[in-house]
Symmetry: C2
Subunit: 286 residues, 2 copies
Amino acid sequence: MAPTEIREISRSKASGGYVVKFEHDSPLSRCSMKFSVFVPPGYEKKNSKKYPILYWLSGLTCNEDNFMQKAGGKDKLAELGIVLVCPDTSPRGLGIEGEDDSWDLGTGAGFYVDATVEKWNGYNMYSYITQELWEVVNSNFNVDPSRAGIFGHSMGGHGAIVSGLRNPDKYKSVSAFAPIANPIDCPWGKKSLGAYLGTDNQEAWKVYDSTEVMKAYNGPSRTILVDQGTADNFLKEQLQTEKVAKVGNARVKVELRMQDGYDHSYFFISTFINDHLGFHAEKLKA
Amino acid sequence: MAPTEIREISRSKASGGYVVKFEHDSPLSRCSMKFSVFVPPGYEKKNSKKYPILYWLSGLTCNEDNFMQKAGGKDKLAELGIVLVCPDTSPRGLGIEGEDDSWDLGTGAGFYVDATVEKWNGYNMYSYITQELWEVVNSNFNVDPSRAGIFGHSMGGHGAIVSGLRNPDKYKSVSAFAPIANPIDCPWGKKSLGAYLGTDNQEAWKVYDSTEVMKAYNGPSRTILVDQGTADNFLKEQLQTEKVAKVGNARVKVELRMQDGYDHSYFFISTFINDHLGFHAEKLKA
């Protein structure tokens, strides 16, 4: 049975609602995991109204704070009446050799995969997001699991597309900012997938690759909104965002918007966050 | 002659405009000083239109980044066509004994005063803001110095009220979030003013005290917008914000809004930033 007890760490009023940080024991992650939640004005844990919910997956080096502090969008979330959850991006403090040696592997860089290499025991961010956190949130918040969406940035954009399309019964709307579109074919992806999944069977990497997951997708029809800055230094070598727009699977359409002059920072995200919130709200009937 | 050469450190597109960070040699501060600027969409250094300008003064521990990353408001600045400048909060790296020992004195805590105690030579944030930075900005940006406003948060709210009212010819609009309203009578203020100005002549502290400056104010009529969260842990002992609303000088009216349940964080600022930008825009005819 999934653990459901959560402990409140901090709470700040924002845009009429609250940003609240929690931690909980995560058997899957072998540590305590933190997440932040925005609840809109008037939110009560127990009342008849159930709120639509959005999951935001952050990028490399981030934790549960980055979106809440830098992305903006809280006025819009308040207006739309949506609950938004920001998990951390990896387990922390597991004591694995090398976990803190580089910013693109280990701590802060879980890559939203379930590690199969024994060394990374506890790095199960794919199942943490799609199962454990899903249960923790549904059992602790007044949300409607039938109206859930997922989105994210960079590593988290990759995580959102993969998690969303592999679980269309859970996530009814998907969008991404500057996702790592084809990790099996870029340096960040090869490093992470090689470490967490091993290099012997690279076929096994494909279930964690947005482009490959989109090719294989045969669920209900989906349109995914993707924003990408043209001045993003990671675009060409790492993100290769255009690849998700070229898959050609009729069941999953990508609305790719190349945003002139924007880079990879949260300044880019904050500029277009309201568009994404509106996109999800329409799909989730928020 | 004031130094005017500035060097661009970084640039990110945001809300159709740009967040740009600069540094410049500051003889007054005895070091290189950084500041960030938001320029709205269409801003060009050389064209016929001159932009109104806002100065944001940050609080203890902050630097030139905090407002840009966390306060929001850039969509509104873009809409209003205002240039906004965020300076750092102190000189850095002067090698003064104890400058990095505490978060509320020295580095990140210049308190917007000109130090008279020899030890703090270089800590001249009052003159840095109102003279040196003023010149640097006016000579490097396409702004209209006759339409300048100033605002800030906490220590920066104090700095904005003091700088604004002591220089009404420069700053035509003033507002504050949770200002340190009466530093001569609170622990943060006594510590800073005592260190930078010495404790022998505490009368000299009054020119850096919002409440005292308001009492003595005899310039053109001003209305100052002040927002204060009721759940701000610093309100009672440090900020004492209600004091600026009780001065009773007919020339300077304070519109104090007590915001129910908000704390001292940037979540509070981001909630009400657009109100402040609208307030300044009206005064500056932006």
